[in-house]
Amino acid sequence: MEEWLAVSDRAQKPLELILARNLLTSLSTPAFLVDSDGRLLFYNEAAGAMLGRSFEETGQMDAGEWTSVFGPLGDARDPIPVEELPLTAALRDGRPAHGRFCIRSVDGREHTIEASAFPLIGSDSAESGAMILWWPRADGGEGRG
């Protein structure tokens, strides 16, 4: 039994993450899905189009890894620490959080976006991750390279 537990517990995500991924897959709004450690579990095609690389190409990444690849960057194009991102606030406080910053696609283009992060809390009241949707800002900065 212990062996079975070890295999299967590693195998399957919590249901709320599975359903969140299914939702994000069907959205045209760019979106990320992270676990409770900030690990990037999935991003949708709309996000992949903006980032210049599909999720199938990048796969899952730890927080430090994906923030170094995609930014985010502040107004002075300085890296924003992970702990200051909306998703971190959502995970830390269990509440939605919103922010404005730049992200960088793999070809070096920068996109100014607004992002909203929502914590995902399952039926067992445990926080399993967060969903981050973002929108290109209409007031400039889009596609600056």
Partner: protein, 303 residues
């Protein structure tokens, strides 16, 4: 462990001459453990007949996957509830709406019922299923949330080397292609993995399913994909649609067996649940009966 089907119908009881072979009662499965303890999976209308034949001084555990009416309707007509010598424990999914007893009491109370739970002469208790496995009559029980409308569980019962998985209401293919999905993103994967017998929702044909997307149930093609991906060794189609008479279910069953066989499976290892049907679940040997339709799942040890 022994399994007896007391109700295999989904949604609503569907009695009638065209339903006699598969039966019209809603979800209820009796699992008799080697210890002599009885575990009952769901309390649809099938539990009424089950209760009539139980021994004196019964100690009964009822595992509710969820509280939709077709899974609890028989509870008020379960004769041990009206016996002072009966001890009944009801397990079910937790919900922020209220305790399990409070939510079941919405049904067993006025105006839907002439009696309240507190009036029942039996000894009855309610418990949310724990996040970890627990022991029941020498078996290990595991409950996990699965994709259906409202808090819903799948159960795995393991006794010795034998495992049974029961997921009567489940839509694992909602918005996603099961054949191509990594195991970690498949609802119900953990609880069904490598089961000797998987009893699973098969409410719709593939043709019917597009009109019922998001209703929380599975089409036959997705059932076979799911069973394949989790490596189930035997599959029982369950939760028959109330609009499907016997002849229709015969055809659906034959179609499913054909697809199973196309993948190299033994058609005899795929059955459609029939009310009154009994079987002994034994540990299967060798590799999984079904072969995956899509890309092979990640490497995992056979257990």
């Amino acid at each position: 462990m022994k399994v007896k089907i007391w109700g295999a119908r989904g949604s609503v009881p569907a009695p009638g001459p065209q339903m006699n072979r598969y039966g019209g009662n809603t979800s209820c499965v009796q699992v008799s453990l080697a210890s002599g303890e009885e575990v009952i999976l769901d309390a649809g209308t099938g539990i009424r007949t089950l209760g009539l034949g139980l021994a004196p001084r019964p100690t009964i555990s009822i595992l509710l996957t969820h509280l939709h009416l077709d899974h609890i309707q028989g509870l008020m007509f379960f004769s041990p509830c009206f016996r002072s010598d009966a001890e009944i424990t009801i397990w079910g999914p937790a919900s922020p709406e209220g305790s399990l007893e409070e939510r079941v009491a919405r049904y067993i109370s006025a105006p839907l019922s002439p009696v309240d739970i507190r009036e029942l002469p039996c000894s009855i208790s309610f418990a949310d299923t724990p996040a970890t496995e627990w022991e029941l009559g020498g078996a290990t029980i595991r409950a996990e949330a699965v994709n259906h409308r409202g808090p819903t569980l799948g159960f795995r019962i393991t006794e010795g080397d034998t495992s049974l998985c029961y997921i009567p209401d489940h839509e694992p293919g909602l918005g996603t292609p099961l054949a191509d999905l990594e195991p970690e993103w498949i609802s119900g994967f953990n609880v069904a993995y490598d089961a000797d017998l998987l009893i699973h929702d098969c409410q719709y044909t593939d043709v019917e399913y597009p009109d019922h997307i998001g209703w929380g149930h599975t089409a036959v093609g997705d059932v076979i994909d799911f069973a394949s991906r989790v490596g189930a060794r035997r599959l029982m189609l369950f939760h028959h649609d109330p609009l499907h008479p016997d002849d229709f279910l015969d055809a659906l069953h034959a179609d499913a067996q054909g697809r199973w066989g196309t993948r190299g499976g033994d058609p005899g290892a795929l059955v459609a649940a029939m009310e009154g049907g009994e079987l002994v679940v034994e540990p299967a040997t060798g590799e999984a009966i079904l072969m995956p339709a899509g890309p092979a799942p990640g490497p995992g040890p056979r257990l």
